[in-house]
Amino acid sequence: MLLISCPWCGPRDETEYHYGGQAHVPHPESPADLSDEQWAAYVFYRDNSKGPFAERWVHSTGCRRWFNVLRDTATHEVLAVYRLDGPRPAPPQAGGNR
């Protein structure tokens, strides 16, 4: 069970949230000009990295707001929580003390 701190409601159990996939995937500037292959890459292809990973969560049974979480996919440690309009935190450097 993850304990995630909603930027508005504070720490709540993972069961109050829903997952929204990878964060910071920009919408294409001109979708009409994309080939099918490029569109498929935008819609379906996501990173699957080991380590710090920025992802979207929504506090669905609380304030119903979306926000971003920086989570370590190997340890499940929640490294940072930040609002959609907030700055993106720098990922911790490898070999750091965490």
Binding site: G10, R12, T15, T61, G62, C63
Partner: protein, 210 residues
């Protein structure tokens, strides 16, 4: 409840409203436990609820606060009260106005105060119903299925938060130190939640198992 309530004009008086838990009123009364581990459950039907969305930094928010006579709570868990109204924080720009006053009148007044500015005022009285759980064992009953810390050090009278009880999403408002909690589940989940609570209350009828 879900049936259309249209009736032919002049076919007689309209049917009285039925609350989502009217059919469980007797079972809830029978489930009451008295004594040192007492806990009671009852429905408070037809509480007026108005959903309000507005930018808290806007002029419209000031006008709405003046209309309601109370400031809009700015933090999760906070509530404010004024006359028949209690204002509950739902989100950074969203509140629920609970009231004993008539729903159409409250929504109308707030709509006038909003005066076409960005935001919304919607009468959602039929969206949720109200369950009141009260007594010395009420906190223990809720702790069986609520992920929040309800201990007095973290949760006290006047706090209202959206969370889950069992699998049901509810707005949970602690009213007093008895403790008395009011739970606001969506109407269609109320039957399940009431039965869940009746079941959770049953063990307090017997002596405490050490």
């Amino acid at each position: 409840m879900a049936e259309p309530t249209t009736s032919d004009a002049g076919a007689g008086p309209p049917a009285p409203r039925t609350s989502p838990l009217a059919h469980l009123a007797d079972r809830m009364r029978a489930a009451a436990v008295t004594g040192a581990r007492g806990v009671t459950l009852a429905e408070w039907p037809f509480v007026t609820m108005v959903n309000l969305r507005v930018d808290p930094a806007s002029e419209a928010a000031v006008r709405i606060e003046k209309t309601l006579g109370a400031p809009l709570p700015r933090q999760c868990g906070h509530t404010t009260a004024s006359g028949p109204h209690t204002l509950v924080w739902l989100g950074p720009d969203e509140w629920l106005v609970l009231s004993h006053a008539d729903g159409t009148a409250v929504a109308g007044e707030l709509g006038e105060a909003l005066a076409g500015d960005p935001g919304s005022v919607v009468d959602v009285s039929a969206n949720r119903t109200t369950l009141e759980l009260s007594g010395p064992a009420a906190r223990q009953v809720l702790e069986k299925g609520c992920p929040l810390d309800l201990h007095p050090r973290a949760h006290g009278p006047g706090r209202a938060v959206s969370t889950t009880v069992g699998p049901v999403a509810v707005l949970l408002w602690q009213v007093d130190d008895a403790p008395t909690y009011r739970l606001f589940p969506r109407s269609s989940f109320a039957d399940y939640l009431a039965r869940w609570l009746i079941d959770a209350m049953a063990e307090y009828r017997g002596p405490e198992v050490p």
